[in-house]
């Protein structure tokens, strides 16, 4: 394994560089997945049938809490990558833990919101609007939930092996995933919630 010390640890081997490149290709596919979900939602948004409309069920405080929590977690995972690059491993690991705690809080609020929607009559089968809304939010939420398990697995490896070319690479790829979920959330926040409320 040829290690290039002029590059950050996560890019230091050919394999690492290819893994990062491959993950970007995966993110390209993810963009298309979410684009189709936004398409479905945009088309079915007004098909509410006898069920509630968006403005009836969206509650701004919960949405804002989710938004700021996710923005903060995106910032902390960015700090993790930065800390690993300048050798502050311990601080980086703490920031990763903080990221996961914020992610858990996000999922918690989202689960609460889903119960709230169901309580307001927006169940999966209530209307085309409700099912496309829950599908879009649920796909994003499922990604965040998966990210929590992924992040915990990386934490365990960091604990066992310390910071090396492999674990730095895994952490960096995880950070790409996490930032991407924040990007998707920005579009949900703007074009599902704010558009529904205005």
């Amino acid at each position: 394994m040829k290690i290039d010390n002029s590059l950050p640890l996560e890019y230091s081997t050919e394999e690492n560089r290819l893994k990062i490149f491959g993950f970007w290709v995966f993110l390209g596919a993810e963009i298309m997945i979410f684009a189709t979900l936004f398409t479905v939602y945009a088309i079915l948004e007004k098909r509410v049938g006898a069920g509630p409309i968006g403005a009836d069920i969206f509650s701004l405080p919960g949405i804002l809490a989710e938004t700021f929590i996710l923005l903060a977690s995106s910032f902390t995972i960015g700090i993790t990558v930065h800390a690993f690059r300048i050798g502050m491993t311990k601080a980086g690991i703490n920031m990763l833990i903080l990221t996961l705690v914020l992610g858990l809080a996000f999922v918690g609020i989202e689960v609460y919101e889903f119960f709230h929607y169901a309580h307001m009559g927006a169940t999966f089968s209530a209307s085309a609007f409700a099912s496309s809304l829950l599908l879009t939010l649920g796909t994003h939420g499922a990604h965040v939930t998966f990210g929590l398990f992924w992040g915990i697995a990386i934490l365990i490896q960091l604990k066992k092996q310390g910071l090396n070319a492999q674990t730095a690479n895994k952490t960096f790829i995880f950070s790409l995933y996490w930032h991407f979920l924040d990007v998707v959330w920005i579009f949900i926040f703007s074009f599902v919630y704010l558009k529904g409320l205005m």
Partner: protein, 93 residues
């Protein structure tokens, strides 16, 4: 502490909060629906770019040209899917 929180990241974080608040002005502004959508588009795309260039370090890797092409292609397919479907099924053109 200052070493752990580089200026660029802190500014990026604050900008993303400011952009979120700017996007929220559509709830109170008394302008047309189209203008509100334009505000949402601008703030969302700025925020996405912030993540992409600042936090995801897309411009740092040696194969950045390929990454740009990949992301641009994905965005293109996504936009065609959304706008094309809306054209036919919602806007009735």
């Amino acid at each position: 502490m200052a070493k752990l929180f580089p200026k660029s990241h802190v500014i990026g974080f604050i900008s993303s909060i400011v952009l979120t608040l700017l996007a929220m002005t559509v709830l109170v502004l008394d302008v047309s629906f189209a203008s509100k959508m334009i505000i949402l588009f601008i703030t969302a795309i700025l925020q996405a770019s912030l993540q992409l260039f600042l936090f995801m370090h897309i411009s740092e890797s040696e194969d950045k040209k390929e990454l740009y092409i990949n992301i641009a292609y994905a965005a293109f397919v996504g936009i065609v899917t959304i706008v094309g479907s809306l054209l036919v099924m919602v806007w009735d053109m």
